[in-house]
């Protein structure tokens, strides 16, 4: 029971994020937002995905289309063998188009304008990622903050972290000064798998790149597979961002955002008696 007599331990403020991390984080936010929205504009030029080297037009594994049914347009989305009605969002949203206007950059249909945004911010994204990875590997941010510590990878500990995470119980005191295991794994997957995958699968769609990098295209299973993996990696990034934002809010939005802007992060003291 909390009692009025016991003095609350003072809030400790630590420096959580280095300057490079903060700058590259917000540059990445901008680049990924623009790339995502302009990427959906580009996708809309041919809203279908295939596996392999070429497009098997009659057998896409993902496709969006509109059909007329009783004088009204119905948006349809095919995934594998399943077909879903997605009127208003996918396939048909006031006009025949894959993703709706609110999700694309620009909102109006223009493959040319979408490509301009995409290939400008692809450079921003790639340079930013290179700076982050170089600084993180050389400066020790990856080893110090992202790789799990030895005590974090004991089975009982892992189970407890999963249980705590699921109940949105966030660490206090000394434990709050480092990322928990699930957080570390999520960040490692994003910075070492998903973000580089966007760049590599993107390059594999370039017809000029094939003249030197065909080995990589083959590794992904062909150009159309690379396009599919580009889309799937982007989807995984969107999923990460949704969970990431939810966690930011649940564990103290203001403190987290301040930490990513100024670097300073307030650590809640340990609860007495625990």
């Amino acid at each position: 029971m909390p009692s009025a007599e016991r003095p609350r331990p003072p809030m400790e403020t630590i420096r959580r994020h280095g300057l490079v991390t903060r700058l590259t984080h917000w540059t990445n936010v901008l680049a990924v937002l623009v790339l995502l929205a302009s990427g959906l504009q580009i996708f809309n030029a041919h809203p279908a995905l295939y596996w392999g080297e070429t497009s098997t037009f009659s057998r896409p594994w993902v496709a969006m289309a509109a059909v007329e049914r009783g004088g009204e347009f119905v948006g349809l989305t095919k995934v594998g063998e399943a077909v879903f009605e997605t009127t208003g969002v996918l396939g048909y949203s006031g006009e025949v188009r894959g993703f709706p206007a609110w999700a694309t950059l620009p909102g109006y249909r223009s493959l040319a304008d979408g490509r301009r945004w995409h290939f400008f911010f692809a450079w921003v994204f790639a340079i930013n990622l290179a700076v982050y990875l170089a600084a993180g590997l050389i400066g020790g941010h990856v080893r110090r903050d992202l790789l799990p510590d030895r005590d974090q990878i004991r089975p009982r500990r892992i189970l407890r972290e999963i249980a705590d995470h699921a109940r949105l119980r966030f660490p206090r005191g000394a434990e709050a000064k480092r990322y928990n295991l699930l957080q570390k794994l999520a960040y490692l997957i994003v910075v070492f798998v998903l973000l580089p995958m966007m760049l590599l699968t993107g390059l594999c769609m370039s017809p000029a790149f094939g003249s030197v990098g065909y080995g990589l295209i083959e590794l992904f299973g062909g150009r159309q597979s690379a396009r599919t993996l580009h889309f799937l990696s982007a989807s995984a990034i969107v999923l990460f961002v949704v969970v990431h934002l939810a966690m930011v809010v649940a564990s103290g939005a203001w403190n987290n955002i301040r930490a990513m802007v100024t670097g300073r992060f307030a650590v809640r003291p340990e609860e007495a008696g625990t």
């Binding site: 070429t54 909102g107 301009r116 790149f209």
Partner: protein, 257 residues
């Protein structure tokens, strides 16, 4: 405020904010300074690819079993230009590919003349700017052989391909398809004037009687229905000045990505 009211108010506010952001993005996209800044990336991409990739590196070539049974025909698939229709009805026996501009010896090549020039066959992947790919086999005269036969003059820096088709229905010439390459791509080993596709005469839908193949670039660079090749010093005085039908409509001149 009731919970329902608050929820619908929040929804409305979110939609309004989203609408503002979307409108701002569209206005930003249409701003000429923004357009120019974003378009700078094209030059950076071209210079980087040209610096990192060997000049003569070949696009991957495939085997006969990889050929797509459903190779898509895009853009114009049946030109209605009267002069072209007359040529087509005569089986292209009167077709002459004109080579002029900054050349020593202007040419007018029949299909037989083209077939007599050094040829190349290649099974390559065609990547449309829309995102799809198909594999086909192409046979044609090497563009380098045509340009060497004509002899480029000193100042020639680009070759322009004038086509028989109008992709935009207009009375004037602005709707007519054209494309251009610089000499680096024009003299690449895989750059050919294809008169055969998959071992048969090039079909009309794919650009009969002659189309350009420039394998390290996107589909719209592969001009179909090529009637005239003009060597020029600059692309600026030609049509929209951007070097191609789609380039004049906002697409990249360097379509290597």
């Amino acid at each position: 405020m009731s919970r329902i009211d608050r929820r619908s108010w929040l929804k409305g506010a979110a939609a309004a904010a989203g609408g503002l952001v979307a409108a701002a993005c569209d206005r930003l996209t249409l701003n000429p300074t923004v357009q120019q800044t974003l378009a700078r990336a094209e030059g950076l991409t071209r210079r980087t690819q040209r610096a990192l990739f060997p000049r003569m590196a070949l696009a991957p070539e495939f085997s006969p079993e990889d050929i797509s049974p459903d190779f898509r025909a895009n853009g114009t698939i049946n030109p209605q230009d009267p002069a072209y229709v007359a040529l087509r009805e005569a089986g292209f026996s009167d077709y002459r590919l004109v080579v002029d501009g900054l050349v020593e010896r202007p040419l007018a090549l029949s299909l037989a003349d083209l077939r007599a020039l050094p040829a190349r066959s290649q099974i390559t992947r065609h990547d449309c700017v829309e995102g799809w790919s198909s594999i086909g086999k192409w046979t044609g005269a090497r563009l380098s052989a045509v340009l060497e036969a004509a002899g480029l003059k000193e100042g020639a820096r680009f070759v322009v391909f004038h086509c028989a088709d109008k992709l935009e229905p207009r009375v004037d010439e602005r709707g007519r398809y054209y494309e251009s390459l610089d000499l680096e791509d024009a003299f690449h080993e895989q750059t050919i004037l294809a008169y055969e596709m998959n071992d048969a005469p090039l079909p009309v839908a794919h650009g009969a009687p002659v189309r350009l193949r420039v394998e390290r670039q996107l589909g719209y660079k592969h001009a179909k229905y090529v009637m005239r090749i003009e060597a020029v010093e600059s692309l600026t005085p030609i049509r929209g000045g951007k070097g191609g039908f789609w380039e004049d409509r906002g697409y990249e001149w360097y379509a290597g990505i």
